[in-house]
């Protein structure tokens, strides 16, 4: 029984780690995600658009299958997890071999291995040691370091470059897993929401995309917000000056723009939208004494702030109606759009304590404009701004970015760096004269390696020629030196 279980486990492992399984899983991911782009997805589509596009039965079937929200369905996540497991299994299965290859390089090629190499050559040498030395120098000249391998009392040469290339595939796979891990962490613990702040307002409440609310342990205050436009009226820049408030104190301030968010304790605040509210921010007007004597003066009124006109009179912006309508002697607000605005000013006299309502425009039957000691002319109306902030918390994103960087490195190693190995072994040719066998191999980009090998071969024969010349010179010199010694 135990053996049976063991074999099942073995089989399951084999299936999971096979390339075929991996490819099948990837094809499934491709098909399913392609479906997810063709069928309208609930999170990004309005409900009535879905109803227009599909018949109710269709929609019910799609919903039941999860096709209207493929990328958040449990089976899609399960598929991605299976892909990750398959990558892990495949890597674990093949890693020990690769590691052995990496950790214990093959330094002395035996005869059967030597025969299999495509790039190899055998050159005649005066003697074994001269040949090896000449080859070492030749390697040095093409920029390779070399090492002597002593085996059974015989010396040979091994040289290699970029052994890391063997492990590159695992770096790429590991980076992919890191990205998946980041994505999973974000799917589990990350969240996204929206926050709308009026100028000067402060809040820690976030409206989540599913309608729920979330409270932050700190608050955000919008000090000001605005936009710049190009000459043709298209928006150029939206900005908001934000402050992070914690325990009543400002701990951080930043002006954010569309591509530059505020980040505080892993929570990011993005400029998402911007607009005017139905509240007035400033009202610019001129005040002129009603009796026509004296100068007109400019005034800037802010809501509920009294402004002194003379020793006796003050004026206050008491009420702003963005879209007013009069019915039965009453003023009503029709909508929140600034379409037909009305303003009620309260003009007060300190001495008499009398207050009167000054309406702009003068609404008949309601306004006391005629009794006012001043006449007011509106010049400009500045509405309050709100800024819309997209708020997100993605604790796993560092995994994603680290994975992306690692993948860049891994792919560079995989595609542009090849593991090159070169061996030189002293042998004897058919006639029993000393010779040097030289061979090499690269794990990719073999054409480039062959060119390299040819260069190496050229350098080797140059070095050997040099050796021979030196030898002849030495031979020539010898008798002279002997004579010189004898002369002494």
């Amino acid at each position: 029984m135990a053996a049976g279980f063991g074999s099942i486990r073995h089989k399951a492992w084999q299936t999971l780690s096979s390339i075929k399984t991996g490819v099948v899983l990837l094809i499934l991911v491709v098909i399913v995600s392609a479906l997810g782009t063709i069928v309208l997805q609930r999170p990004v589509t309005e409900a009535d658009e879905l109803q227009r596009a599909y018949s109710p039965q269709m929609l019910r079937i799609f919903d039941a299958l999860g096709l209207t929200d493929v990328f958040h369905s449990w089976w899609f996540v399960a598929l991605l997890v299976l892909v990750s497991l398959s990558i892990v299994a495949a890597s674990v299965d093949r890693f020990p071999n690769a590691w052995r290859f990496f950790a214990r390089p093959y330094k002395y090629p035996d005869e059967s291995f030597r025969k299999t190499l495509r790039s190899q050559v055998q050159v005649a040498v005066p003697d074994q040691e001269t040949g090896l030395r000449a080859f070492e120098r030749a390697l040095e000249r093409i920029g390779f370091s070399s090492q002597r391998v002593e085996r059974d009392g015989r010396s040979s040469i091994f040289s290699e470059r970029h052994r890391i290339s063997v492990m590159a595939v695992y770096i790429v796979h590991a980076s992919l897993l890191l990205i998946f891990l980041g994505g999973i962490i974000d799917a589990m613990w990350g969240w996204r929401g929206f926050m709308s702040l009026n100028q000067g307002q402060q809040s820690n409440q976030i409206e989540m995309h599913d309608g729920a609310h979330r409270a932050l342990p700190f608050a955000i205050r919008c000090d000001s917000a605005g936009q710049e436009r190009y000459a043709d009226g298209t928006p150029k820049k939206w900005w908001s000056k934000l402050a992070v408030v914690r325990d009543g104190q400002d701990v951080e301030r930043k002006e954010i723009v569309v591509n530059d968010p505020l980040v505080y304790k892993g929570v990011r605040f993005y400029q998402a939208s911007y607009g005017t509210t139905d509240k007035v921010d400033q009202l610019l007007l001129t005040a002129m004494p009603a009796d026509g004597q004296g100068q007109a003066r400019e005034l800037t009124l802010e809501p509920n702030q009294a402004e002194t006109l003379d020793a006796d009179t003050t004026v206050q912006l008491a009420e702003f109606i963005p879209d007013y309508v009069v019915r039965d002697g009453q003023v009503y607000t029709r909508s929140k759009d600034v379409q037909n605005p009305a303003v009620r000013l309260v003009v007060a006299s300190k001495k008499s304590g009398k207050q009167l309502n000054y309406w702009i425009p003068a609404i008949e039957g309601i306004a006391d404009n005629a009794a006012s000691p001043y006449r007011f002319d509106p010049k400009d109306l500045k509405m309050g701004y709100f800024t819309g902030l997209e708020v997100s918390h993605e604790p796993g994103q560092w995994g994603v970015w680290a994975g992306a960087v690692l993948m860049g490195i891994g792919l560079t190693l995989v595609f542009y760096i090849s593991h090159v190995r070169i061996w030189a072994v002293p042998v004897q040719d058919a006639a029993g004269r000393p010779a040097l066998w030289v061979g090499g191999i690269a794990n990719r980009n073999r054409d480039a390696f062959e060119a390299h090998f040819e260069e190496l071969r050229g350098k080797l024969s140059e070095e050997l020629k040099e050796q021979r010349k030196l030898r002849f010179e030495a031979k020539d010199r010898e008798p002279e030196e002997l004579l010189a010694i004898a002369a002494k």
């Binding site: 991911v29 392609a34 150029k236 569309v258 997100s392």
Partner: protein, 465 residues
Amino acid sequence: MARARVEQPTASGSTLISMVGLGIAFLLLMAFLNVVKTGSLLTDTNLLYAALIFYVGAATLDLGFGITGTESYLTFASYATWAGLAANTGAVAHRWYEAGHPPFASIYEMLLSFVWMLAVLTLVAEKKYGVKVIGTVTMPVAIVGVVLMQLLRTDVRPLVPALQSTWLHVHVTLAMLAYAACALSFALAMMFLIQDRLPTETFLAATSLATIGIYAGILTRFEKWGGLNVAAWNAEEKSEVFISRGVRLFVTIPDLGWLMLLVAFAVAAPFALYLLARAKKDERFLVLANRAVFLSILLQVLALLTFLLRTRNGQYASLDAEGLYATSLAASPFILSGLVGGIFTSLMYLLLLWRRADLERALPSAENLDRITYKTICIAFPLLTLMIAAGAYWANRTWGAYWSWDPKETWAAITWLVYAGYLHMRVTRGWRGRRAAYFAILGFMVVMFTFFGVTYLLPGLHAYA
């Protein structure tokens, strides 16, 4: 006898070269005289016009080689490409200088960069890898690109806030490079199949299927009672008409749908005849199929001309709004490039049918092409990876989410997976030759769908491109 055969085309060769040379000189002179009057000489529009003239010259010489098999045409085609590239580089530089940002912000600017990239890659393929006839494929594409640009608005438009990011430029540059490399790998894979003695009738089936695909795409805009829906165009604003944010207004051109349907049948006929030939094992159907290709080209040209004429003039009704609206070629770049691409595909087939022996002589060996295809994908794949990563990083800075499964993103990931599959099959399973070539072709089809299909057929965030 052999000597005579070699000499005879050479004589006619110098005729075509001098004709093309004179033509280029004449057009440049006319353009120069025209420009001198208006003042500024080196603007991107003028330089682009010069590039267009040279590219047309190169394409003519390339096609001349296709028809006569004269090798010297290719050399001069290469010179013309160099000259065109020089003018094109000037156009890109001028645009960059004037706009103050790299030219990737609008469709116009992206096409400008794409054509430039295409010319560079053509020369690289010619010089480094000895694929001399590559211009036959790439130059017509470059011409279509430049002609499309003439239809689009060229004034430098300010960037909306979401696009003001260095990461966007990085993202788009990488995308252009990656897609151009994918396009090159596709062309190389096709050439491999030619050198690998894939039967000509298989190419017949493939080209026919490609054109069927194009017309199927166009017919998604088929409207009841034979109309064809195209986006409405506001000539004064030089932009599409929008009903609401991001929703274009479509107008129906009457009867054009019927014509497109007819042409769709015409381009499907060669494929049907091919199937018949295979089923009945009768070569005569193939002869008929080749005639059908010829006929379908004529009909496709008719469809293109009708489309050109009907979109340029006339006011059309819409199902979604009252009144009559004008349209323009610029409003339907995808339909236009589909129509031109269809004609081009069929012409390429005829070229192969008539000049296969010459092509085989001019192309590198199958083994080399196989290897170069693989190398090109080895370049394309890391670029695709970095492109996706840069895009994700930009999205994260702009929208607060690095991945939101919008159709463009998803299809970019699918593209990536397909090429990853290619690499795994090649490295671990030792896929070489035809299977690898088919895989490379599949990869490029997915790229094309990501680039055109997603924008055209699927909704999403990538409204800018």
